[in-house]
Subunit: 341 residues, 2 copies
């Protein structure tokens, strides 16, 4: 987690004398490359047609590129044309949000159905012979099957809607304007006057500002508690959403920090510990949203008590996984190097 | 966890030459003392009358003494009159079981109501202001209140029945026969011929046999998995009861092992690590039974979906605590000394 600009800039542009490299010469190639990724994703999307796997891969490429462009525009805004940067960020946020929804519905359904199957299975010791099934297990098996069907219905409907919305978005003139902006970005970045300064002089500050915000956010998290396994902290269900927010914010900041690292270090060799921390926060978010989906399904009118019961089990199970993700994040984070002063 | 008979016997009877002490001279004083405890508990019970705290303390004393006498009769059976020992053990098991039930209902209710209150509270960060309450929290709060009322009704009824059964047992001629046997035990232990042998020659084997059974039972537990926090093993709900059995059996063996240690070491300075391991297995048992009670309550006919939902949350929460208890046991156990060869 070092951010010394000298080594950075040397890596990014090894052919030029380090002191002569401008900030623009570091940021622009990164944005060019991500814009090219975006256009490739767009091409994939057009070519995939009705092929689900292909269109999922295309959407993934588009989202990854959009997130990185947006993060770079945010972190290195002082070096760019700010009006252009803010505008493009808004449009990319709209696009990412629209494209992310379908994927989120799919992965949430997979997560919840997997959890239900694990909860109503015989566990790690293998399936329980039918003869040993107890009243508890029979009740839960029926409830779990119904809960699974209910979640499948609700999340498939949501996914279909999200899919239509994504298709509509990708066909809209608003999207074509974004695509045009990104196509332009693939060859030409609207830099501000500061981008002409030497990279060693101006690149560090924006990256360090993001890192500072990240460290402040992490410092405010209840990590001491998270370090104790089975603290049952995330199981205070009614506080769930409000207690999750600082973790979600940290997730966003960690992402910005990682992308800033990609700009500075040319994207090579991502820090494995930061990646692990980021994965833990992704898991945290996924589990929190899956828990909320289980809770939402339980509010469906006229469901059977057995269904509601299985959804309650599922809700607590996913909040348990929220707690596990916090533990995993704490473990990964404690392995990052000492804070930059 | 050393069981060298020499030091043992020296501690138990420091005034006699170690080699001259018979096995009976070690086991009998322990049984005398526990029988005296039992009689004290009985006196406390008679004196407590309608005083709940007093009668709870009396039942606790009676149960603790009965467990220790019974465990000693089991472990050191080769040194005792076996017919008498088996008969008294059967009667003490009946008595302990009858007396334990009321306590179990009380502590189960306390555990479940505490868990519900934690689950529907704002968590460690303090109460959530009402204005921030979400749909999830409102639904859960209503369901938790109803589930709490249902559990209170069911477990209070069970406790009342257990209380009547305990009172009836304590007034029965069967109980008076047990009390007479224990009163006799306070001064006179029906020893077998082997009790006349030197303690150093015959006390070790029965204690070592119990320890071996304990170690075998622990070796068969999935401790490697339990050592990984958040392994979600105990959450395979339908396998719950069957997967718990080996842990419950280990709990019983650990108890026998600890009581054998009390006999050998005169009850002084119980091994803190073994005590901690035993506490973890108590918590395991309590959580498993509380989970089963929540599941049983959810099978009550005509409950509202919100109630069933909260009971599902509670069930998973208690199974989560089962998993936490396994983790705690694994931690404590790993700190016991290397196995005796």
């Amino acid at each position: 987690m070092t951010t010394t600009a000298t080594s950075t800039v040397t890596t990014a542009a090894p052919s030029t004398s380090p002191s002569a490299v401008t900030a623009g010469e570091v940021v622009a190639p990164y944005l060019h490359a991500r814009a090219a990724d975006f256009l490739r994703g767009l091409r994939l999307h057009t070519e995939s047609g009705a092929d689900t796997t292909g269109s999922e891969a295309a959407a993934r490429t588009l989202r990854a590129a959009a997130r990185r462009i947006s993060g770079t525009l945010h972190t290195f805004r002082p070096l760019l044309d700010p009006v252009w940067a803010d505008q493009l960020r808004t449009e990319l946020a709209w696009l990412s949000g629209t494209l992310a929804l379908e994927h989120a519905c799919t992965s949430r359904l997979v997560r919840l159905v997997d959890a239900l199957s694990r909860l109503s299975s015989g566990g790690a010791q293998g399936p329980v012979p039918a003869a040993r099934g107890t009243e508890t297990s029979r009740g839960l098996t029926v409830g779990a099957a119904r809960a699974g069907a209910l979640l499948e219905r609700q999340l498939t409907l949501a996914r279909t809607r999200a899919h239509s919305a994504a298709l509509q978005a990708l066909g809209s003139s608003r999207f074509h304007a974004v695509a045009d902006s990104v196509a332009l970005l693939a060859s030409d970045v609207p830099l501000g006057p500061a981008a002409a300064a030497r990279a060693v002089d101006v690149l560090d500050a924006p990256a360090a500002a993001v890192e500072r915000r990240l460290r402040d956010a992490v410092a405010a998290l209840p990590l001491t508690r998270a370090a104790h396994p089975y603290n049952a902290d995330a199981l205070a269900l009614t506080a769930g959403e409000s207690q999750d927010t600082p973790w979600h914010q940290t997730r966003g900041l960690l992402r910005l920090h990682r992308y800033a690292g990609e700009v500075l270090y040319g994207g090579a060799d991502p820090d494995p510990v930061l990646y692990e921390a980021a994965r833990a926060l992704d898991r945290h978010r996924d589990a929190a949203e899956a828990a909320a989906a289980a809770a939402a399904a339980a509010r469906t009118p006229r469901i059977a008590p057995a269904t509601a019961y299985a959804l309650g089990v599922l809700h607590a199970d996913q909040r348990h996984d929220v707690e596990a993700a916090r533990f995993a994040f704490q473990r990964a984070w404690s392995r990052t190097t000492a804070p930059v002063p």
